[in-house]
Symmetry: D2
Subunit: 314 residues, 4 copies
């Protein structure tokens, strides 16, 4: 199976009405496929792993709240899955209430914990006396407003219709231009073709007792002019100070400079997990540094061969 085969069934972090569903629906063809919501990120990924779905969509990072630890941890370990695409979704919240509820009636507001800090100031100004409650998702928050458990929910405005709620306020966000980045996942497959504006994701595991390792890793990228777009350390669970590094960077696994850098990581790290090469949603084109184009590699390899050397190959 390649990344280009159209999935028949998508798993996503539900319930219906979440931003993840909105992201999923923006994927070409997804609206015509079956969409199956799951309660947790691990549940979404396990559904994909065992074949209950052909593809999955989960949130990876948010411009306000940072990366989503569960997504990172679940993709860094367990049966490998592969990112084949990404979606950038502007995130603003609506305040959803049961029809008839006025601002002054609101004693409780529910939302996913990730929504709360993005609306903290707005909540403090607008409903200063309301108590905030955590929900597993913004959609669940909406549902619990619908069933009378809470008075209001912070959620996407698209969730109102689904739960029979009314939008009391829109475009709520303390921070302008908040964006969430979602990834489209499949079981391991050939990556999408290079587009010239690609991103690659890997997870590097550092052996113990090797404090300069991060610098070594970054040098493998910098020496080939490859820019990182995200680096995130996560504990491996083996004690304070033992980390893995999630890294997103410019380029495609089939670019020569990326291939050589990945080989470098593989050689110096305890382990490297390739998570995927895929087109960037923002289509930012990388500056390819002098001497690191595919042509430069091809010419250098030909020269090396001409002097009796052997380019590192299989």
């Amino acid at each position: 199976m390649t990344a280009e085969t159209r999935p028949e069934r998508y798993a996503y972090l539900g319930p219906r009405g979440t931003f993840t569903e909105a992201a999923l629906l923006s994927v070409p063809g997804a609206a015509d496929a079956e969409q199956v919501p799951y309660a947790t990120v691990p549940a979404v990924l396990d559904a994909l792993r065992r074949g209950d779905a052909d593809a999955a969509v989960v949130a990876l990072e948010n411009s306000v709240e940072g990366s989503v630890p569960t997504t990172l941890d679940e993709l860094a370990t367990g049966e490998p899955l592969q990112v084949i695409g990404e979606i950038h979704l502007p995130v603003t919240f609506a305040l959803l209430v049961r029809p008839g509820t006025a601002i002054e009636d609101i004693k409780s507001v529910a939302s996913h914990p990730i929504a709360q800090p993005q609306c903290r100031r707005w909540l403090a100004d607008t409903v200063p006396h309301a108590e905030w409650h955590a929900a597993t998702s913004n959609a669940e928050a909406a549902q619990r407003v619908a069933d009378g458990h809470y008075d209001a929910a912070l959620a996407g405005s698209f969730a109102a219709a689904r739960y029979g709620l009314t939008v009391l306020a829109e475009e709520i966000s303390d921070i302008a231009d908040a964006v969430t980045r979602f990834v489209v996942l499949r079981r391991p497959c050939a990556p999408p073709e290079p587009t010239g504006t690609d991103r690659t994701t890997v997870v590097a595991f550092i052996g113990e007792d090797h404090p300069g390792a991060l610098l070594e890793i970054l040098t493998e990228f910098s020496v080939r002019g490859i820019n990182l777009t995200l680096i995130q350390s996560r504990p491996t669970g083996a004690g304070l100070g033992s980390y893995l590094f999630w890294m997103d960077f410019e380029g495609h696994v089939r670019d020569a400079r990326v291939g050589e850098a990945l080989m470098g990581l593989r050689r110096i790290c305890a382990d490297v997990r390739y998570v995927g090469s895929y087109p960037r949603a923002d289509r930012v084109r990388p500056d390819i540094r002098r001497g690191t184009h595919d042509d430069d590699y091809t010419q250098a390899a030909a020269w090396l061969t001409s002097i009796g050397g052997t380019p590192p190959a299989v």
Copy 2:
């Protein structure tokens, strides 16, 4: 005020019965001081900022779940606070129930979201049909068991007595040797005296459009032989790809190599926030690299002066 002045009143992430309270009580003298629980990390830090407390204790990172984003974000921005000490607390959970509840009665389990993944496998094996619910803290989970809302709570065993609950199981953790690192905070003050086994924390803000900046920052440390013990990127809120870096590293602000590295960060970063120098809880002694002892700096500065140069100073 210096770091050595004994605080009269500590703020901490409550309610009573949390791991944070257990960490706080391990601080010399804290048991005799007033201990004031607050509902959220921002509330704890604001109490310290406005003088309602003289010191505060909050969790910074956990060997399983990673750093605590709220703590990082709140210390990286707003009115500066200073870390003057740290506490490493082994974290294992107990399953707390109302007296009389048996394992097979448990339909719902509550805990802080951070506890859930550390006990996921144990829960799946032991109470496979129980639904998990998020609570603001493990202590709140215990309280909501006490008031009949949920059947069981994952919390520290020390919380049982406080809430009139019974310990059904102890030492629950999917992962052995889980540790949480807490920090002791004060308003800005002179740092504790160097002990030879110190840690320093800073937050570096990178100017926009400068992708090699992380490598530059790490080079300022590596060129002086300084090991990082934690590096964590966090979004600044200014859009995907705009980060600040929280960095913990070996050494004290008064070590010459650390001072010079900090000056280097300050010169190349858009901004640097000093968060504190303080004794390491694990008392790990750094390998000081050839040429980077204080004596090496003193001799080099004397030599530079002898040839007509001026050591960079105020």
Copy 3:
């Protein structure tokens, strides 16, 4: 004594009529001072060391032949001397003969060994059957033509008058725009004031068994944005593979970035010899990198002090 005191007596590599004398005469005030020629570079430097001269001029490098090993070795070891200025002199040769000698009469050509390769092709074309002979200097070559020992000499055209010779050809050089760089030396003194277009020279001695040392040294410069203009390795005499590095770089010992880099060298090298800071003859202005101006250092030091640190100083 400072670099600004006008010398009364200059030592230089003679005899009269050499390019060195021409370089010396271009130094402001030197024409009015006593000029004492010496037979070898060591003799020139020893005259300065023991006070028989107040200043000295010797060649350091040539754009065709490279650095002058004797000058480098003699300045790198022995009693320290200091470069206080430099002179760039375009170098073209004239073919000097006794009056009456024609091209076809020339069976032998003498010159300093450094002149021969710069005129090799011209000699092969013009006097293909003449044998080349080494002389201690071009002026000595001229003298030996004058005394009938050889038929022709390659020397500066200014040497013709002094030795009663005739110029048969001028502007001889296989390579266009050949330049020799001379240095003005004094006994150790305060350096000339910074001009904004300065050069500094040091010699770094690397401890044994430390193969990555050159990279470490270059990193001390690059991390502060300092460009090297010359790097030359020379054996220390302690066996193949044991080197010292002569380095010329942009900036003045009183620039903060240079001072800090020099301290870095001093800390990591077995030894460092400061050879001088002086105005560049070509007045090339350095690009000072973001974060490495003196102001950046002053502000960073003030900040470091404000957080309880101590800038590395005497």
Copy 4:
């Protein structure tokens, strides 16, 4: 032709009786081949280039005097030649005189300029009033003693018999353990098989206006754990500040880490000339850094292929 084919005719820097001849005679099989002396290094190399000889031996560097500029410059430019082996020859001098000459009779001493500084102190102590004269080679110096032109010559003691001279003193050297390194050259050919203790030589040409280039070049080596054993800058003739770098380093062109580093140089430099891979005379075995063995490259390339990437190859 491969490096293993036995040459029938060797060119070397003559005349007979030089250290170069002694080095040549130490090459296995060379004593049975024809040995043709030439007057200059360029003449030796041109003889090899045009096929008048099958191999050549010239000096490359000396532990006291440093590299031999002519050898470096001639091999860095012109029709390529290839180093296929090296010889380390201890260098001590003998004082050769005509039979009957006593120490007190010596008014003049001749030698190659490279010999003089190595015996300066000994000469000053033993024949303080003798004048030193330059000769094109130590053997020529001996010859000119034989023909009565000078009183004594510094040369290898093996030159005495050849010129009918007597050894007045032996083992003359101010510096203990002086060694000269000679190289065996052929026209371009397949390199000798790797031995595990090999050296490789390249010349890197840096494009103009790129001051950080040397650091970039050294990083290509350091990132793969390759130690340089000699780095020598030489002017390209294009003006002060324009250099090429002669570099000797550990490893063989067929080692994967060396191949990848050479490709790196080729990609980032204006030009790279491969000068040869050959067994080290001192048989020093390199420390191969973790992750840079051939096996590491093979495994990394296989992994890269498995994830859809393409190892940089022809």
